[in-house]
Amino acid sequence: MKKLKSIVSLMAASALLAGTIAGCGGNANGGAAGADTASDAQGTESAGGVFKIGAIGPLTGGAAAYGNAVCNAAELAVAEINAAGGINGYQVEYSKEDDELNAEKSVNAYNTLKDWGMQVLVGSTTSACSIAVSEYTKEDNMFQITPSGSAVDCVKYDNVFRVCFSDPNQGIASAQYINDHNLATKVGIIYDSSDVYSSGIYQKFVEESNGKNYEVVSAEAFTADNNTDFSVQLQKAKDAGADLVFLPIYYKDASLILTQADTMGYKPVFFGVDGMDGILTVENFDTSLAEGLMLLTPFAADATDDLTVNFVKNYQEKYGEVPNQFAADAYDAVFIIKQAIEAKGLTPDTSTSDICEALKSAMTEIEASGLTSAKMSWEANGEPNKEPKAVVIKDGAYVSAD
């Protein structure tokens, strides 16, 4: 008996350990680098006749697809701006640096760009890197706009703005989208209560659902340790008569939910957010199960408006691949900077700090139009207001839902 008890306590310990290890997967290096903070803002005085815009992203390593999309699209935007006569008549110089998805290297990349004379930063591409760099842009009073850093803390300083929705704001955007497009009368939710991203979106979604043209009829959670059997969550949504199930979760769990719903013969509309992006890439997944799945995403490469068509064509010509949402966010970011600089009539000889002050106030005044939304404006806290867009999966591919 004594032996069994010790065995069991050991078992419990190992279970705990397994949980801890599983829980910390996927975090990028969060700590900011300590070195290299001494270089002062004077190094950033510009060389007169050109605006200097820099971009940072993971150009190598596992997240290289994101970083390259951001840096390529920013480059494309700068080239287009220069070809059309520049900003306020001044040409734009562009430079990019690799951060390998590492917060410390992202800060180094920022310092390199600062030495080069950067006046405005487009970056970083990912959340943890963007947060690390913002500590330094804040100190230097350098204007920073992250195309795709979606964590809440990315814009905690007033000199940082973003193009994409923040994680929890995707909940608000989803609620608006479902309401505006009359997608449902009764909505069920299945979310991961052990994940900040998922539960954050869930809470905002429920708050925003008040007074909408649908009713939230079931909200069931699961945890990272109990994410294989979704029969109860699905059954409850089905029994409550939900005709749309909102899934603010990653595609890994969603693929199981879709399979189990199919087994049950339950066929509501499934609606996901950006974590759902990737469901079609799951190896051996029967994509017919995802048919009709909608997900909130700022950009669909097959949209037929002129802006998108031209962007996709030019991007493909130059870089040989179809641009993704990261590219679209970065492309917009550069044009947003252009519009804000023009709104204040700035010239390249303005100091970096003065540019930052001018752009901070310009951002809250401008209304931009771009690939990711036809109408974007910003709050002083750095969050964008824009119309949510969604795509739907049709014949195994994403197509614009609008």
Partner: protein, 294 residues
Amino acid sequence: MSFLTYLINGLSLGSIYAIIALGYTMVYGIAKMLNFAHGDFIMVGCYVIFTICSTLSGNTFVGIIAAIIICTLLGVTTERIAYRPLRGAASPLAVLITAIGVSYFLENLALLIFGADIKSFSSVVKWNGVTLGDGSLRIQGVTIVTIAVSIVILIALQLFIHKTKEGQAMLAVAEDRGAATLMGINVNKTITLTFAIGSALAAVAGALLCSAYPSLSPYTGAMPGIKAFVAAVLGGIGSIPGAMIGGLVLGIIEILSKTYISSQLSDAIVFGILVVVLLVKPTGILGKKIQEKV
């Protein structure tokens, strides 16, 4: 009616726990060690089937046989390399900690070879199952197959243990290892055979686990393995019919507590049961006397 639906869902989940618990309890009953890597043997079996059936588009049957062979070899090798040298160690904890090490080793090896991306497993059971009543109640084919396979394994194991010479040797080893040695039984060989059978069962359990929940990752076996351990304790660890009953009961408890109490608390309840069983009836449902264990 909806209660019945949930009960059937519980049965599906429980049948999976039961078939995993069979392998767990078999190894514990005879070798008197908890093979924490059992869940990861399952995962290895799933990857073998996935590779053969989906990547190489081979025959399902071939895939399962290959998984059984590879898992058996893996079990025997692990026992030989990692567990046997420690069997005489001063503390019985040594071999348990090694088992945890083997578990992490296998998970990380799979991570290295197959990557962290999940893979969608094609069910090895092509049958849809039966519909009851007015059509709203459905028992999935994989559930029925899992229960049937569990019962076949249960009977086969009982027959093997009680009717064959090797089985008798296992009983003897389980009862008193020292005395068994004195009676001329090769203890090492007997335990190796136990591991071989236990690991082969892991491959079968893996095929059915991933057919019911078709998402395959290096951590696929970890949590079901731990739950199956709870099921084995609930049924009476070491008792083979107990594992079957414990698994089914645990699955039903988990689903019903998810339904009627809280979907977030179900794990707490499941592990709470482990604590209560150990406090109130440490021998579990069927493990009455130590002598009967096997």
